[in-house]
Symmetry: C2
Subunit: 205 residues, 2 copies
């Protein structure tokens, strides 16, 4: 099955570079040749592995993007401590500029969501389902926090999750330009204020 290995390797290279360039320039503003030239591959190679540009991108979404969201935004939530600081840390980390040349700034979710929204329903649905996974996990973690007495009982966990996601996506829109260092700091600070408001009151005595 050596051929399968070769296949996997080429597809992997294609997906990796694809995500990189799509993230950089946007999906519709990137031609296949842009990617192919960069990898010294040809149209023939590409269409041997993927049946269309759309199929290709869905592949990228379901492999690479899903993984990233899990690693950055879902798994860090599973600490047994107070969920609020855990959420805060995951968001802060996700907004971090990429180490070295890697994907930066909580990457792309908002960008792709917006780009495909009015253009390609199928891809749009894939992306939304990723968001949905994140949301579900956020909600469940918040609810657990309520049970554990870290979050006030009156809090609407679904609403809170939606709100957190919205603010995060919005920050990505604002951080697109260069002057960003303090934006992230400001965001985290204000989020803390909000978290204070939904945290259980620690009544001393």
């Amino acid at each position: 099955m050596q051929m399968t290995l070769k296949r996997r390797e080429t597809m992997h290279r294609l997906c990796g570079k694809g995500l990189e360039i799509f993230n950089e320039k946007g999906y519709y503003n990137t031609s296949l040749d842009d990617i192919l030239n960069e990898l010294s591959l040809s149209k023939g190679a590409f269409y041997h592995h993927f049946k269309s540009k759309e199929d290709y991108f869905i592949n990228i979404v379901q492999n690479l993007i899903v993984q990233k969201v899990y690693a950055l935004l879902v798994e860090p939530l599973n600490t047994c401590e107070n969920p609020l600081p855990a959420i805060l840390e995951s968001l802060e980390n996700a907004l971090e500029p990429g180490k070295k040349n890697e994907m930066a700034y909580g990457f792309m979710l908002n960008d792709f969501l917006t780009e495909f929204n009015k253009r390609n329903e199928e891809i749009s649905n894939h992306l939304k389902s990723i968001l949905s996974v994140w949301e579900v996990n956020l909600v469940s973690v918040l609810k657990r926090g309520k049970v554990d007495g870290h979050i006030a009982r009156h809090v609407d966990c679904e609403g809170a999750a939606t709100y957190i996601i919205a603010s995060f996506l919005g920050m990505r829109s604002l951080m697109m330009d260069s002057t960003n260092g303090q934006l992230k700091y400001q965001y985290i600070q204000q989020l803390k204020q909000y978290f204070n408001a939904i945290a259980a009151q620690r009544v001393a005595a």
Copy 2:
């Protein structure tokens, strides 16, 4: 100078319909013919009035979009009361589905911002400057609220403004699909929580 009137009228029709369709389908996903057909105008007519598609859109931004942002998000802030409810109301109103067929959902700012971000720096800058106007006004209103004792003294007004804008932009991303009625409600509720956190404590007695 009747000709100038004719000119203005045609340009006005073009801009209005343009904003409508661009908002609906996105700028790059809308061809000039899409708009021209709708108005029964020709390429020739278009290029008689605008020097390019880009020039055309900048025109739309600087006339129509600026106006809408002012009307919906800036002017409502100028009440002499507590700024927090005023902000809340302006956001709620801006997220309202358009009456009749008008532009809906706090319209387009986030969408266009994202669409042009990696594509057209000039337009991108125009849009950012609109955001900036909103931000400046938010900050000044917040600061006034601090002076008037409605907002806690420790609050970072710039940070708060950024945060409010981010959450608003993010909501737009989330509200793109159909199931939205309660999203807005959730958002407003959570925003209230946040506002509670930054409001001056009313110590009774």
